[in-house]
C-alpha cells in the first residue's frame, strides 16, 4: 500500500480546489458532476504545466487571471443551432399553440451558452407569428458566452448543418433569411434580437425570476450533481406559471428528482413538461 495512488488522492485534491475557488471568489463548482470537472481539471493541468492540483491551488488563490482561465474550463459553452430538431418541431406543434392563448408570454433560456438555441427558438416564434408577444430572457453564468450570444455572430461554415436542422425542425422559410453572411462570419438578423435580453444568472447561487411561461434548460443539468439539479429545477418550478412549460435536454429526466410530481409530460422523448397545479 504505502503512498496513495493518484486515483485516491485526486478526489480530495479536487474537493480542496473547488472549496478554495468558492471561498476565495464565490464561484461554486462544488456541486457539479465530478467526472467532467476532473477531466477538465486534468486538461487544465496539462495546458498550464502544473504537476498536480495541489500545486495549482495556491496559485489560483492569488491569481485572478489564472482563476478566469480555470473557470473557462469548467463552463464550456458548447451548443448548436436547432440541436435535436425534433424537439423544436414539438415546440412548434404542441407548445406554441398554448403560448398563443396568452396575450403576452415570457421565456427563459437558462444556460444559453453562446446563444444558438435562443436564436433557433426565436425563429420558430417568428414563423408562428407570436414573436412580438414574447419577452425572452437568456441567461448563463459565463459573461464571455453571453457576450458572444449578444453579438450573434457564428462561423459561416456552421450554417450548412444549421440549415439542415432548421428544415428537419419544420422550418417554413429559407434559413438564409435569418442571417447575413460576410466573409467567414454569419451574423444573426437584428429582428431576431428585439425581444431578447441577455443577462448573467448562476443557477448555483442566484434566485428565481418570475412568471415564466416556458423555461428552456437543455444540457445544463447534466453537468450538475443531483443536489444542484434539484436546486435549479426548484428555481424553474418557482418561476413558471401554472400550465407553463419546461423543456430539458433529451437525456435529462425529471423522474427521480424533487419536482417530478409537479409536472406532466407533454412529450416524453422531447423532454417537454407542463407544470401542474399540485404543490
Amino acid at each position: 500500500m504505502g503512498t496513495m495512488g493518484e486515483a485516491e488522492v485526486e478526489p480530495t485534491e479536487t474537493d480542496l480546489l473547488l472549496e478554495a475557488v468558492f471561498q476565495r471568489y464565490g464561484y461554486d463548482y462544488r456541486s457539479y458532476a465530478r467526472a467532467s470537472i476532473e477531466r477538465r481539471t486534468r486538461q487544465f493541468l496539462s495546458a498550464t504545466g502544473y504537476a498536480s492540483v495541489s500545486e495549482m491551488i495556491p496559485e489560483v488563490l492569488h491569481d485572478k487571471e489564472l482563476l478566469a482561465r480555470l473557470t473557462r474550463y469548467f463552463s464550456i459553452p458548447v451548443t448548436e443551432m436547432f440541436r435535436d430538431p425534433s424537439v423544436y418541431r414539438v415546440v412548434r406543434e404542441e407548445v406554441v399553440p398554448l403560448l398563443r392563448t396568452w396575450p403576452h408570454f415570457k421565456i427563459w433560456h437558462a444556460g444559453c451558452a453562446t446563444g444558438e438555441e435562443v436564436y433557433s427558438l426565436a425563429i420558430v416564434l417568428k414563423e408562428e407569428g407570436v414573436y412580438d408577444r414574447a419577452t425572452i430572457y437568456a441567461t448563463d453564468c459565463s459573461d464571455e458566452a453571453l457576450e458572444r450570444a449578444r453579438e450573434g455572430v457564428y462561423e459561416v461554415g456552421k450554417m450548412k448543418e444549421a440549415t439542415q436542422k432548421y428544415q428537419q425542425a419544420g422550418g417554413k422559410a429559407s434559413f438564409s433569411e435569418y442571417y447575413h453572411a460576410c466573409c467567414d462570419a454569419a451574423a444573426m438578423d437584428g429582428s431576431l434580437k428585439e425581444r431578447i435580453t441577455f443577462a448573467n444568472h448562476n443557477l448555483a447561487v442566484d434566485e428565481a425570476f418570475g412568471e415564466m411561461h416556458l423555461v428552456f434548460c437543455r444540457n445544463v443539468l447534466i453537468y450538475f450533481n443531483r443536489e444542484l439539479q434539484n436546486r435549479a429545477l426548484g428555481l424553474f418550478t418557482e418561476s413558471l406559471v401554472h400550465g407553463g412549460f419546461l423543456c430539458l435536454g433529451t437525456k435529462e429526466d425529471i423522474r427521480f428528482t424533487d419536482v417530478s410530481n409537479r409536472y406532466e409530460a407533454v412529450d416524453r422523448r422531447a423532454r417537454i413538461y407542463k407544470k401542474n397545479g399540485a404543490s
Binding site: 495512488g5 493518484e6 486515483a7 485516491e8 485526486e10 478526489p11 458532476a33 465530478r34 467526472a35 467532467s36 476532473e38 477531466r39 464550456i76 458548447v78 444540457n219 443539468l221 447534466i222 453537468y223 443531483r226 439539479q229 435536454g249 433529451t250 437525456k251 435529462e252 429526466d253 427521480f256
Partner: protein, 184 residues
C-alpha cells in the same frame, strides 16, 4: 468497451458469451451518427442476453446490465456508481468518445476496470487504455486480424497499452470468466 467501424459486429460476438446473470456492469461506447436515435441500443437489446439500457444522465450502474452511450453525448462514470453524460466537444472527432469513458472509469474504479478496444478506423481509446492501465486496470484489444477495421486496436497495441490481444470470441469467454470469478 469501445468500438467504431466494425465494432457492432464484435460486440455482438462478445455479448453472446455473457449470460443473463453476468455479475459485472458493462458500458459500451460505439461511434454513431449524431442523429442516431437509439437504434444502436435497440440492436444491442436484440443481440445481448443482458438487459440493455441507453444511458440517461445520473443513471445508476447495476451489475449485469449493458449501458450504451447515446449518440452525440459523452458517457462518464462517476465515483458514486452513476453515469454522467456530457456534450463537451468531440474527442478524436467522436462524441461519444471511448477515451472519455475509459478515463473516467479509470479514475472512478481504478484497478477494477477491464477496458476492451474493438474494431475501428481511428485512434480513439488509446489514451483511455493508457489511463486504465496506469490505474492498475486490465486492457484488452481485439486482435487486428479478427477486426473488420484494424486501425483502432492496432493503435492501442502500438502504444504499448494492451495487456492481452484476443479475438472477439475469446474476449467474450474471458469476460464470462471474470464474471464468474466476481461471483465467488
Amino acid at each position: 468497451m469501445g468500438g467504431s467501424a466494425g465494432g457492432v459486429g464484435a460486440l455482438d460476438v462478445i455479448l453472446s458469451a455473457l449470460s443473463r446473470d453476468f455479475a459485472l456492469p458493462v458500458l459500451a461506447v460505439q461511434h454513431l451518427h449524431p442523429s442516431d436515435d437509439g437504434s444502436f441500443a435497440r440492436h444491442m437489446a436484440d443481440a445481448a442476453r443482458l438487459p440493455v439500457v441507453e444511458a440517461c444522465d445520473k443513471e445508476r450502474i447495476e451489475r449485469g446490465c449493458l449501458y450504451t452511450a447515446p449518440a452525440n453525448y459523452h458517457m462518464l462514470v462517476e465515483r458514486d456508481g452513476t453515469i454522467s453524460l456530457s456534450v463537451d466537444e468531440p474527442v478524436n472527432w467522436s462524441r461519444p468518445s471511448i477515451d472519455v469513458l475509459f478515463d473516467s472509469a479509470a479514475l472512478a474504479w481504478g484497478e477494477g476496470v477491464v477496458a476492451v478496444i474493438l474494431s475501428g478506423a481511428n485512434a480513439d481509446g488509446v489514451e483511455g487504455m493508457r489511463s486504465v492501465k496506469a490505474a492498475g486496470g486490465f486492457t484488452i484489444a481485439q486482435d487486428p486480424a479478427d477486426a473488420e477495421s484494424r486501425v483502432m486496436p492496432q493503435a492501442a497495441i502500438d502504444a504499448g497499452v494492451v495487456d492481452e490481444v484476443l479475438s472477439a470470441k475469446e474476449i467474450g469467454q474471458l469476460l464470462a470468466e471474470f464474471g464468474a470469478i466476481e461471483k465467488l
